[in-house]
Amino acid sequence: MSFDQFFQYFLSGITSGSIYAIVAIGFNIIYNTTGIINFAQGEFLILGGMIGISLSSFLPIPLAIAAAVVITMGVGALIDFLFIRWLKNPPVLRLVIITIGLSILIRESMLHVWDEKVRTLRHFTGTEVSSVKILGAYISPQVLWVLGISAVIVIALSLFFRLTLVGRAMRACADNRSAARLCGIRASRMVTFSFMLSAAIGALAGCVISPLTQTQYNMGSGLAIKGFTVAILGGLGNSTAAVIAGLILGLLEAFSIAVMPLAYIDAVSIAVLLVILFFRPSGLFGDREASALKEF
């Protein structure tokens, strides 16, 4: 493999890896405040992408994306209001099944609101044929957008959780719910925020990747399982580790194309998921003992 080729694979790996990391962060935000794995996380990306595409036909792209993010955020809040908030101490199995049901319901609604066609958002800069040459590899400017926006999301989130009052309150809830409530934090409101935040970054990511990967109503579950793999790989709840894990999985996938038929690529990441679940469920960077105490 020549260096150019290597670099090309490398770029495609970190591009998809950064998207997986964003999905994983979406999982982590909700998991941290509620202990729920939201199986509908992948649907947020597709829903955001779909809304963005529809709006972009009469709005400029930045506005269309902003509107898509806000609308998806509303959907996230609605999910919490209708399906999560009023359940009292539901067992994990019940929540798992509820979010699975939600993901299918959102997917089927998208099928009926839009249709089964593959759509794409316009490229943010240039067209699908324009490319930038970096170190001998040709990449679409959209790749730079994906990488840039992913980086912005990660940095903005970590600032949000560290510096703002709401962010700190959410972290407090994640740490110790009853202690947070004693300090006057409304835990239920933090849960709503976490659903909105997850939906928002999901929608943003869904819009940014649409020009590259295209958008179809049934693509959500594939993204969700990869995002989950990354979340587990990094250690559930740990968003910094999720970024590293995302890049690892993205690169692994990109380079496995070199040795394996394309049809099995998805099986690779799922196999990674199974291996990590079986042998190290606390993740690569997680604390084994701490995770043994958690209720999965």
Partner: protein, 368 residues
């Protein structure tokens, strides 16, 4: 009535119902309903297995469609494999003498030579057991989200393998699977065998119910229920929880696999849509509607919902209907529709009238 006989009361009731439905349907000239009822019966095998796993051992599995496919596809591959080029070899001749390899004619009168369905059945079940054990040993150590994701992942891998592998027919699936000879009858979709196939399917389900019921009422069943209640407590009582969970996982896989094998022979083929994760979710939905630890409820719901779905009553909302069912049940009736307050009173009344002791006095039983 003698208590030993009493437990066969519901089974006999079911047998009567099966016969009655056939007579009514045939008398009204709507025999085409029997086709979907037969298919529902085979799907119900998957449901019964999953009911044991979810309701009694308390383990969710989102990979049952994977096991269904392992059964169906193995049987389909073995019974459609073309051995004609090797028909002169000694091995094939010897296998033919023992009835392991059989000859048949295709639609155009060409001679085909492939493995006998009974051998394919055994091979498929053995393969299922092997895979279920290998997957099950690590899987049953997981709980909650991790268990759900791991089994979902397993199902997805099988789906990807089916879609990406040439000899499994990729997106087209496998067609031309022969009927399954059974004591002079045959499991196949031919119209002349519609009624006999209806009975074969439901007798298989009946046997599966008997097996499951005896299992639940045995020492194993009590052990499983104690695991569901509290795994730690069960272990403290000296129950080898891991072994029981694994055994149930494997058994539910075999139920799904047998359903897959028989349905494949009945339909004459199998395609990747049987492997999609939506199918697995659908099975979970049906078990949830039935009330998790309620075999009869699961069987009833499986028959009704599968029948309606196969008849196409849900149209393009098929998947959405199952998702909505799943949500409504989990939000409002986590103990299953049949134990919804109104219906429960009705059921209690019915039991009183029939003076049929059962769960009537037990009230709301916990499960989750």
């Amino acid at each position: 009535m003698h208590p030993r006989l009493r437990k066969y009361l519901p089974i006999s009731g079911m047998l009567l119902l099966v016969v009655a439905v056939q007579l009514i349907v045939s008398a009204s000239g709507a025999n085409y309903y029997l086709t979907q009822l037969t298919m529902s019966a085979y799907y119900s095998l998957v449901i019964l297995g999953l009911c044991l796993l979810m309701g009694y051992a308390g383990q969710i599995s989102l990979g049952q469609a994977g096991f269904f496919a392992i059964g169906g596809y193995s049987s389909a591959v073995l019974t459609t494999i073309d051995l004609v080029p090797y028909s002169a070899s000694e091995l094939v001749v010897a296998l033919k003498r023992f009835g392991i390899v059989v000859e048949r004619q295709d639609l155009y009168g060409n001679t085909l030579l492939s493995f006998a369905p009974w051998l394919a059945f055994i091979a498929a079940v053995i393969l299922t057991v092997c895979i279920a054990v290998v997957i099950g040993i690590p899987v049953i150590r997981l709980r909650g989200h991790y268990l759900a994701m791991a089994t979902l992942g397993f199902g997805l891998i099988i789906y990807r393998i089916v879609l990406g592998t040439g000899f499994l027919g990729e997106a087209d699936g496998i067609t031309g699977v022969p009927g399954f000879p059974l004591f002079g009858w045959e499991i196949s979709g031919s119209l002349s065998r519609r009624i006999s196939n209806y009975y074969i399917a439901w007798i298989v389900v009946l046997l599966a119910v008997l097996l499951a019921m005896n299992l639940i009422r045995s020492r194993v069943g009590r052990a499983l229920r104690s695991i569901h209640g509290s795994e730690e407590a069960a272990r403290a009582m000296g129950i080898d929880t891991a072994q029981y969970k694994l055994a149930t996982f494997v058994l539910s896989a075999v139920f799904a696999s047998v359903g897959g094998i028989l349905l494949t022979h009945y339909n004459g083929g199998i395609g990747p849509s049987e492997v999609s994760s939506m199918k697995s979710v659908r099975y979970v939905a049906i078990v949830a509607v039935g009330g998790m630890d309620n075999l009869w409820g699961a069987l009833l719901m499986s028959t009704v919902l599968n029948f309606l779905s196969l008849r196409g009553y849900f149209g393009s909302y098929d998947d959405a209907v199952f998702a909505a069912i799943l949500l409504v049940i989990m939000l409002f009736f986590p103990d299953g529709l049949l134990r919804a307050p109104g219906l429960r009173n009705l059921a209690n009344l019915g039991r009183k009238l029939l003076s049929f002791p059962g769960r009537a006095t037990k009230g709301k039983s916990g499960n989750g």
